[in-house]
């Protein structure tokens, strides 16, 4: 991982230029399943390399918002504009389904809470990692193999296990495999739904550390849904606090957690053990 730290000046300059412009612009986004069920009136701008955490209790609309943002479910209201790698802006829900799907398997990625939803459990770890590359047209077996071995190492799975089925992996390994499967295509925006949700605490720490490293090394923008404020503090630069379908407070992660303003945020922060 250290090689990427020694970035050359050209990479640095390119990143600086890219970072000056927003990556995702969300205006008035909403979808309601009933009064205060779902989400409404969500506005925010995300820049390259930023990690945005969405926190709130169950039923507050976090997951609905993530589905809308990630192109999986059309909103009732609002617009999502995404700046593609080629610099052109794409209105995510005005785009054709073909464009949206292409985005989802190239520049975007989605890490599911349950790795079984994000992995193909019936094919090997190597095939799981290679799938996005094959979908992008890579037709060289050796190249796919090399990418598989490289990414297993990056997510700290023994590369010898490349031909093993995911079901023979532990929960933490499955989640790391899911991350590798998503990041192999070099996405710029990653959606994560409670990525450490079902894991033991010791396994969580390892995964969080890995994700922190990858986020910085690959300059990923991340939208992270979590109800775990400790996870939010460790990974997110900014937070949005949701309650009953609305964002009640947004700001820097440490400011929200240490000096929450909204009554609900104060209740949320004071209700958990010190993160």
């Amino acid at each position: 991982m250290n090689s990427a730290h020694a970035m050359n000046d050209a990479t640095q300059a390119a990143r600086q230029a890219d970072r000056a412009q927003p990556l995702l612009q969300v205006r008035g986004l909403g979808k309601l399943y009933g009064p205060q069920k779902g989400c409404q009136g969500v506005d925010f701008t995300l820049y390259p390399g930023e990690v945005l955490g969405i926190v709130g209790e169950s039923g507050s609309g976090k997951s609905t918002l993530l589905s809308l943002l990630s192109g999986r479910c059309p909103p009732d209201a609002g617009v999502i504009d995404y700046r593609r790698r080629d610099g052109r802006w794409l209105d995510v829900y005005s785009a054709s389904e073909a464009e949206r799907r292409t985005l989802l398997r190239t520049e975007w990625a989605f890490v599911e809470q349950n790795p079984r939803d994000g992995l193909r459990m019936s094919v090997s770890a190597g095939a799981n990692i290679g799938e996005r590359l094959m979908a992008q047209g890579v037709r060289n077996y050796q190249a796919l193999r090399a990418a598989g071995l490289d990414w297993l190492a990056q997510v700290e799975i023994d590369p010898q296990r490349i031909d093993d089925l995911p079901r023979t992996f532990s929960g933490g390994m499955q989640q790391r495999l899911q991350i590798a499967r998503n990041l192999v295509s070099g996405p710029r925006l990653v959606f994560m739904d409670e990525p450490t949700g079902g894991l033991d605490v010791s396994v969580q720490a390892r995964l969080l550390d890995l994700m922190r490293g990858l986020v910085r090394e690959l300059d990923l923008a991340v939208v992270l849904v979590t109800h775990d404020l400790a996870v939010a503090r460790l990974l997110a630069d900014r937070l949005m606090v949701m309650r009953r379908s609305q964002v009640v407070e947004a700001g820097l992660t440490d400011q929200i957690l240490d000096d929450p303003q909204h009554p609900y945020s104060q209740l949320l922060v004071s209700s958990v053990l010190q993160p």
């Binding site: 550390d209 700001g251 000096d259 009554p263």
Partner: protein
């Protein structure tokens, strides 16, 4: 000598909604500015709001009223009401903060924790590593500990790791919250040297120092934060 940070009429009130919306006026109408190469020491008894002021300056607490302006990359920037990403940029390049406590991240090695501020500014790995190792050695952290995560270190060791991280890169404005508390004489001396080097390099320093010797070694001016009767508070925050 030019001004690097300017605070006008700064107030901070905590409103505790879950507790019948009790309002705590911790800071009221503060005015001060700090020059390059100058160290302003916050003065006042425990509970006067010294730590709250530092945290408010750093953006960790939201100011209730007034203005905090810093010279960020050659331009004045108002921090009150700034976008999160502006504050993140200020924290990356302009505003350094050393607290008493290290927030330990599981599994991250000491050396990596110390190097992090430099790497996020885009330093080359070898340069960052050389600087981090020099600081850890100077702060008497034994070399075998460098590759370990500091979760199991003693309190004093963790504090020194935190100081090394804080002084890893030059900051135009530096906020110090009791950096010398609970350090032995030798290490306190090292920290005071680091502060004076930072001042000599042109930084504006705002600090809290409980021990008199440390204060006298670095202070240029004092800000008296003893509450007047009109600003007396009902209880203590944090």
């Amino acid at each position: 000598m030019n001004t690097l940070i300017e605070v006008r009429d700064l107030s901070k009130t905590f409103t505790l909604h879950p507790q019948n919306s009790v309002a705590l006026n911790v800071l009221r109408g503060l005015d001060f500015s700090v020059l390059s190469g100058e160290c302003l020491v916050l003065h006042g008894q425990s509970g006067a709001g010294k730590s709250t002021l530092l945290r408010t300056l750093y953006g960790n607490y939201l100011p209730t009223a007034g203005s905090i302006r810093v010279l960020h990359r050659g331009q004045w920037l108002e921090l009150r009401g700034a976008e999160p990403r502006q504050i993140m940029a200020v924290r990356q390049h302009t505003l350094g903060y050393v607290s008493q406590f290290l927030r330990v991240i599981p599994r991250v090695a000491t050396l990596d924790i110390v190097m992090e501020p430099a790497l996020s500014r885009g330093w080359e790995q070898p340069r960052a590593k050389a600087r981090a190792e020099a600081l850890l050695a100077r702060l008497n952290i034994a070399k075998p500990l460098w590759q370990l995560a500091p979760g199991t270190f003693s309190g004093g060791e963790q504090q020194r790791v935190n100081i090394a991280r804080g002084f890893m890169v030059p900051w135009p404005v530096m906020l110090l919250d009791e950096p010398t508390a609970s350090l032995d004489d030798a290490n306190r001396q090292v920290v005071l040297e680091l502060i004076n080097e930072t001042k000599a390099a042109g930084a504006a320093v705002i600090g809290i120092f409980h021990d008199r010797l440390a204060r006298e070694a670095v202070a240029d001016r004092h800000l008296d934060m003893t509450p007047t009767p009109s600003t007396a508070k009902e209880s203590l925050q944090c």
